[in-house]
Point group: C2
């Protein structure tokens, strides 16, 4: 995972890395997605795990906050959610113990850490930080629309929750392995925990959303790439606004269209048919041209996790033929993914 | 102006109407736009004006807060802005006097009233409200996308600040004069002061913006019309996100495209050419179909205030011919405006 360190490009990391991952008292693996994502994508920033009675595990060494602090940890990350998205009373003593061991606490949950009196008091007493990564930074400005130097890639999608973050992470890692100077730019809470910085686009005030996207991928040298995590979908009845603001503010040179084969309707909105990949590509080009007339699609990312290898290969080949562009599953890698990278970087296939 | 009372359709008005308009110590008429807008569009809700040394005037009776309270006023509205968008110290004594007279204070400025300690203390002591109409209501939900009963018209535009609010107000007033059951739905602070309720769309958190638009124009009986004030432009490099969220959440049956003839570039963004009216119509239909497949354009509203009557008439006729639909200046009214209303209500021309 060491190549990912190259992706933690923001000044010294705004978040207190490396982390100790906290699993609470979680018994349901589905609730530990954040911890698994951190292990998979920022493994070199995760020293171990700790819990107060969890049965799930990331496989990382079990460390107390004091042991983790001794080994260099600076933050305890709440790596699990529960059904209500809140922090139960049964976790508080453990969280206070982490503060006392010298760790800051980092959360991507809806509930604010500082709204829990016992945590607020302990953090104040110990001079530790309570960091809610769903809170946008101060000082976001209205978007200027001005062209910035450097190159940008944005992942877009037919819907929410189908692989835009993983695709961006995989692309950034692959760019770095080719020697490209690249930063992964996180636009959601899990991505921010992985990258150590970023802006939670969905929590910005709408008048400032495009400005937040501009701030997220600042001007850079001409050969530098930002690979930006997409949000929502231009066809989503609730979230199209954030997708358009992110597209306009990111002014991407290149985008990759993400889709989960078999999904037919918008998640949670069964009355809305999913757009086709082709429709997403066309609308992204049409609207993206407003801030970057040269925008182009590099190809398609399919989340084929539910298919066996042969079926996935067949689907990727068929999609590539149908759309006339590379189609890959970044989690499977392989030649099709190489072709997608080639197309994104505008290099000769096989170069 | 009494027809406008019919437009204050929200339950009992969330704002403390009728108003006394406060002009501060303003000497520059351009800074008193909010007061003029209230006089012009909610004249029956404005009992008088008051100031602490202003030279501008709305022409309404000069009343002290006590006199206004005696005549039935419930709120003092700050009807002026200044260059910095803040409330100067020199106004505070006057505002406290209004609280003491029994008036709530209503502001559409960026600065929060409750952040001014002397006002906060006085309001607390006197049991009066400090109301910032830029603050969105609580309880906004994620948009469902579900079709709501009743009919909706949205004003859209080629840019900001060119007549979307005035067009919506004029359309709502004209609908009411034809006996249509109609509510004007305000999406910005001045509109909210005029209507007595509404949601400041630009201040909503982007994930909830389409949901706020759904809340702004709730389900109604089949023959009821909401005429919704538009925001921004789908082509605006900073504000397209709010425009798209408002379009999706409003799910309008009909829209009117607003433009200011002669404007060639986006206000404050000289590098961005203004889209044509035709482009705005096509993109609004294309994107609006996502939540209302039957969306249609009723016609065009041109802000011809800078032209003489003949030139305006000629331009409106030419625009109508070019686009094949009614084109009117609602501030001028006349037959072309009647045709726009006919088209919006889908009635025979001249009916």
């Amino acid at each position: 995972m060491s190549t990912l360190s190259a992706l933690h490009g923001s000044p010294a990391g705004l978040l207190p890395q490396p982390y100790l991952l906290f699993l609470g008292d979680t018994t349901e693996p589905g609730y530990a997605k954040t911890a698994y994502g951190l292990r998979d994508w920022a493994g070199d920033m995760c020293l171990g795990e700790w819990s107060c009675g969890a049965t799930v595990s990331t496989g990382l060494p079990m460390l107390t906050p004091e042991e983790a602090r001794t080994r260099g940890a600076h933050g305890l990350v709440i790596g699990v959610a529960n059904a209500g998205g809140f922090i139960p009373d049964s976790w508080i003593a453990a969280l206070v113990e982490a503060l006392e061991a010298g760790l800051d606490i980092v959360s991507g949950m809806h509930m604010r850490l500082a709204d829990i009196p016992r945590l607020a008091v302990a953090a104040e007493r110990l001079g530790r930080r309570l960091i809610d990564v769903r809170t946008p930074p101060r000082g976001i400005r209205i978007a200027s629309g001005n062209k910035r130097s450097g190159k940008r890639l944005l992942t877009v999608g037919t819907d929410c929750a189908l692989g835009k973050k993983y695709t961006a992470l995989a692309l950034a890692r692959a760019f770095a392995m080719r020697g490209v100077d690249v930063d992964f730019r996180a636009s959601g809470q899990t991505g921010i925990l992985i990258a150590g910085s970023g802006i939670p686009m969905d929590a910005t005030v709408v008048d400032f959303s495009a400005g937040a996207a501009e701030m997220l991928s600042p001007a850079a040298h001409a050969q530098h790439w930002d690979v930006i995590e997409g949000q929502g979908s231009l066809f989503h009845p609730a979230y199209a606004g954030v997708s358009l603001a992110l597209l306009h503010g990111s002014q991407p040179d290149v985008f990759v269209a993400c889709h989960e084969p078999g999904r037919t309707h918008v998640l949670g909105h069964p009355e809305f048919a999913l757009p086709t990949i082709q429709q997403v590509i066309e609308l992204t080009v049409q609207l993206g041209q407003r801030t970057n007339p040269a925008i182009r699609c590099a190809g398609v990312s399919l989340n084929t996790g539910h298919l066996d290898a042969d079926a996935a290969q067949e689907l990727l080949a068929r999609t590539a033929t149908q759309l006339g562009m590379p189609a890959a599953d970044p989690m499977r890698g392989g030649e099709s993914f190489d072709r997608l990278i080639d197309a994104a970087l505008n290099e000769q296939a096989g170069a």
